[in-house]
Symmetry: C2
Subunit: 213 residues, 2 copies
DNA sequence: TCGTCTATCTGACGGATTGTCAGAACTGAA
DNA sequence: TTCAGTTCTGACAATCCGTCAGATAGACGA
């Protein structure tokens, strides 16, 4: 059922699986180097050292390959989800837990940003299949954060004027966009650590109602 | 100096200016409809009813046209900057001012999101000229917010453990990404108003140190 | 009105990319 | 080695890219 298939639908074997993987890794590498807007099937095929026809055997176009890479992001991010769930379920969420989450997620962005950016872009551009992936990718973060907000609201530590989903979304937005600003920050004297500390505190405050003063 | 030029550098006249404008509007429209990844020069030329050669007379490629649209975003967003500056300079920043800012900026995203997304994408992908535009586009927001944070920190209402730039950046991140999640939010019962209220409160709290409880 | 000058636009071209076959090359099993 | 199934590719038509030289349109003076 979850077997990997070629574009004609047939299940593929070991050799083909390796070819497919080489195509994916090359796509990811070129995406990092030159961005998505002028990434051609030809570029990938040349770099892989295969005929363009080979590419089309596994993917409909470059976007389709990026889609496959996006699907893989869900598994790749799972350890961060797991860590977060483990931390947050053992009782009170501490600032240290927030720091660890922000730090690990920032590292994740540094490695996988090129793919994540296109996943978010295509979802933002209303492509339904990318939206589905974005949902699956975000869901564990959102669920955990929404629960934290609701819990803080129930115990009166956080105002109910905040919408739980929107609050979680805003924090996710910060986590997803700030790594992209890091270079600019560093040029102006804000270190990676300072950024992580700041986001961690904003996150902690928004989810628990702890004051920022 | 600031005259609009063709790709060969010559300053263009009235008729050409109209053609250039039609190309830009068409590019923006197609960008909204079908996204950026498979937007061809041919598509734009066909829609405009002109030869592809006419397109190349004004822009090097589709990305170059989107760049020109991005440059225009700076002027287009200026009224929001102005409103913000006017509100925030008359003394204490109120929650109402934050609400207005978030509301207007969300509307701005609803209209110009297609272009803004590519501007941010290309800047995130390290394209220097888009980075310059992103800086110019963000600078007034950042400057104003950073000043608010510093002021709140100086008067002891906000912890100095927050980095001012990173705090402002995090809020800008929320403003820039949340409009993209609105459809999903609405499907799950979070209205536009609830989203705006939430972001406004998070913004207000982060910039002034006011508690969220 | 007419011709002339200049700005603007385009047909047409060589070259590159896309996407699709039929068949070649490879692989493992017998 | 042969064979059957799998994987890969050369070659092709269609499309797109990017660039000219030359066609067209508009302004202006006679």
């Amino acid at each position: 059922m979850s077997d990997t298939t070629a574009t004609d639908g047939r299940v593929i074997g070991e050799r083909a699986l390796q070819t497919r993987r080489r195509i994916l890794e090359t796509t990811a590498a070129l995406l990092r180097e030159q961005g998505a807007l002028d990434l051609k099937v030809m570029d990938v095929a040349r770099e892989v050292g295969a005929s363009p026809a080979t590419f089309y055997q596994y993917f409909a176009d470059v976007e389709d390959a990026i889609f496959a890479l996006s699907v893989e992001m869900i598994e790749k991010v799972a350890p961060i989800h797991a860590q977060m769930a483990a931390d947050w379920n053992e009782g009170a969420t501490g600032l240290d837990h927030a720091r660890r989450l922000v730090s690990e997620y920032t590292d994740f962005w540094d490695v996988n940003g090129a793919v994540l950016r296109i996943m978010l872009l295509r979802a933002d551009e209303r492509d339904e299949r990318f939206r589905q992936i974005r949902r699956d990718y975000n869901a564990p973060f959102m669920t955990a954060m929404v629960a934290k907000v609701r819990s803080a609201q129930d115990s009166g530590r956080l105002t109910t004027a905040l919408d739980a989903e929107a609050t979680a979304g805003a924090m996710l937005a910060a986590l997803d966009r700030l790594p992209n600003y890091r270079e600019g920050f560093e040029k102006r004297g804000t270190s990676r650590e300072a950024m992580i500390e700041t986001v961690a505190r904003l996150l902690y405050s928004s989810l628990t109602g702890a004051p920022l003063s």
